[in-house]
């Protein structure tokens, strides 16, 4: 069962609206790579944490000194990003690597050693 190792958890209704960042998720032999669009997020504000089996991404969206302005038109419906994913056991949550550049987060979730493919040598019968 490889398909849905990372899937969105159904989060309970929250009083505060949040933005759901779009993601790309790709799995290879040694782990899963998650890429998320988080424009307007400063590296210091980004929170990536593991709660039990859930991976949670959370960050405020900041637009510089925009507070001084009157917004006449906006397509942004909230000022916080939040999204969570349910992880499966073969992912090593202690070795997650995160990199945020130009508003794009790259997360690498490696598989634990034993879950990685291993070549089994077949010996010819004597």
């Amino acid at each position: 069962m490889q398909a849905n190792q990372v899937s969105r958890t159904t989060s309970p209704a929250r009083p505060e609206p949040t933005l759901m960042p779009p993601v790309d998720i790709v799995e290879d032999a040694t782990g899963i790579t998650l890429t998320a669009d988080l424009p307007g997020v400063d590296r210091d504000d980004l929170v990536v944490r593991v709660e039990g089996r859930s991976l949670v991404l959370e960050a405020p969206l900041r637009l510089g000194q925009a507070e001084a302005l009157a917004f006449v038109y906006s397509e942004i419906r909230a000022d916080r990003y939040r999204r969570s994913f349910e992880l499966s056991g073969e992912l090593d949550t202690t070795a997650i690597q995160a990199d945020l550049k130009d508003g794009v987060l790259s997360l690498r979730l490696p598989k634990v050693e034993r879950a990685q493919p291993r070549r089994v040598e077949v010996r010819a019968a004597a």
Partner: protein, 151 residues
Amino acid sequence: MYPSMLKGPGELFANFSRLQDRLDALLGEGSESSSIRAVSRTGAFPVLTVGTGEEALEIYALAPGLEPTAIEVSVEKGLLSISGTRVSRPDDEAAEIVYARERFTGPFRRVISLPEDADTTKVEASYRDGVLKLVVPRLETAKPRHITINR
């Protein structure tokens, strides 16, 4: 047992509703009014927000993961246009399974109508944390002015 294991072929629809959720989150389901140049429900890119101050109009375009040189900003006849192409990272040879491809890729173009008092000769653009910020100053004559009365 993981709930996701029970989904099976229905996952396709789960993905669709996820996309729908995302659009609703970004654009607001049933929002009363939208710009006539942004009525698309297919997820406009970049997402825009426009603020006004006494000195200038500020436009923020959420355009993550672009090279600043790949963004084209132009003004013509009072219309400001932001365009470019967002290329997806080529699939890694080692990549085996793709679970999600929600991030925007391809060419984009957003157009904003500027107010009459915008000084289009002095538009300043900067790019930080994936946000393109455009500052369009107001014409000097349009700025609020205090007039002193002599006696």
